[in-house]
Symmetry: C2
Subunit: 217 residues, 2 copies
Amino acid sequence: MADHAGRDRVLEATMTVLARDGIHGISGRVIAAEADVSQALVFYHYGSVTDLLATAARTASARRASTYQQRLASVGTLSDLVAEARQLHREEVVNGNLAAVRQLVAAAAIDHHLRPSLQASFDQLAAPVADRIRELTAGTALEGILDPTPLARGVAGSFLGLQLLDGVVLDIEDDALLSLEQLARLGDIVLSAGVLESAVVRRRLQQVTGTGADRPR
Amino acid sequence: MADHAGRDRVLEATMTVLARDGIHGISGRVIAAEADVSQALVFYHYGSVTDLLATAARTASARRASTYQQRLASVGTLSDLVAEARQLHREEVVNGNLAAVRQLVAAAAIDHHLRPSLQASFDQLAAPVADRIRELTAGTALEGILDPTPLARGVAGSFLGLQLLDGVVLDIEDDALLSLEQLARLGDIVLSAGVLESAVVRRRLQQVTGTGADRPR
DNA sequence: GTCTATAGCCGGATAGAC
DNA sequence: GTCTATCCGGCTATAGAC
């Protein structure tokens, strides 16, 4: 049970190599060496390196999706959401999944076949976020004005994008998360303090509806 | 003047190939063919493909930085900021610079030498954003509570990350920008309607300062 | 399913002519 | 600065033994 067959080891090795050498440095030979199998086995099981990458994309996606859905299901405030996101990010940095996804996103920009798997997992990531937005805005003046689904996709996309830049272009702990926590607290205050119910704000919110919420797709 | 020397054409071709074939599909041969020069010339001018990529990273970065700095200098509201960002994004999609940057970020995650150029342009992108945040919060209850520099880096990083996912994992016009515009309007209202000055909010803002604003680096 | 061996192409990089 | 020619190593993929 703990002894994986060659097929599984190859897939596991692909994730490792993707994280370590990137999409630029990946090859059947390197993967085979990492998995400690012969090079021919890679092609026997997956046909081509491209097809293997497609399988890797599905794997990485499935891992992300199941974890995220469970963990985001129970948060009650924006601050909780950010705290949970921070923890999830740390885990994905440590296990290398995020580094692999970064390479797969670059590869998917070129090879259209890789996209559906990544898109599917992104949808599953955004879904619980939309649920939380719905709960948070329920009963406030924002209900019916903000559209939870596209907003959640924007929020999830921003966060995923930020994760992918971490360690390359910025340090997420120094910059983004620090400030996101502040914004989240601010958002929680605005949502809970009833300020949105004031006459001034209510009147101005009509303008938001006017130019933003009706989308002619 | 309109006739570029081989050296420049090679660099230009590198950007084109990066956007079209990605970091996985790039090679001295392909670049040479695109630039319509001999393969040897690539190595004569740049030494190695890796070094050429480093130069490409500096080029792409410089292009982004100068444009962004000028264009973000004059926005007056969050809504303006989002509108300008949308326009900048469209331009960078069309000219292929964004596609090249996407590949360079993936490459920089593996090769540390590529990072400084990308980081430098990111810093130049975040700087005007920090200035706008300073202006927008000046005179409100948020002044002194939000830390403009890390917040700007978080905002800029989220947006850049989102840009890099556009067309691969999501469609920025359908999801993110639509909702970002709504959030921006909402933010503008909160900032301008004076709701932040109410006693309830002022009291609660102390808590934000307590756990977020003092950073022990 | 897994191996060794091999075909044949493509890649980085250099030598030397112009 | 730019070219042609070339070396050699790595890469994908397949054939055939076990």
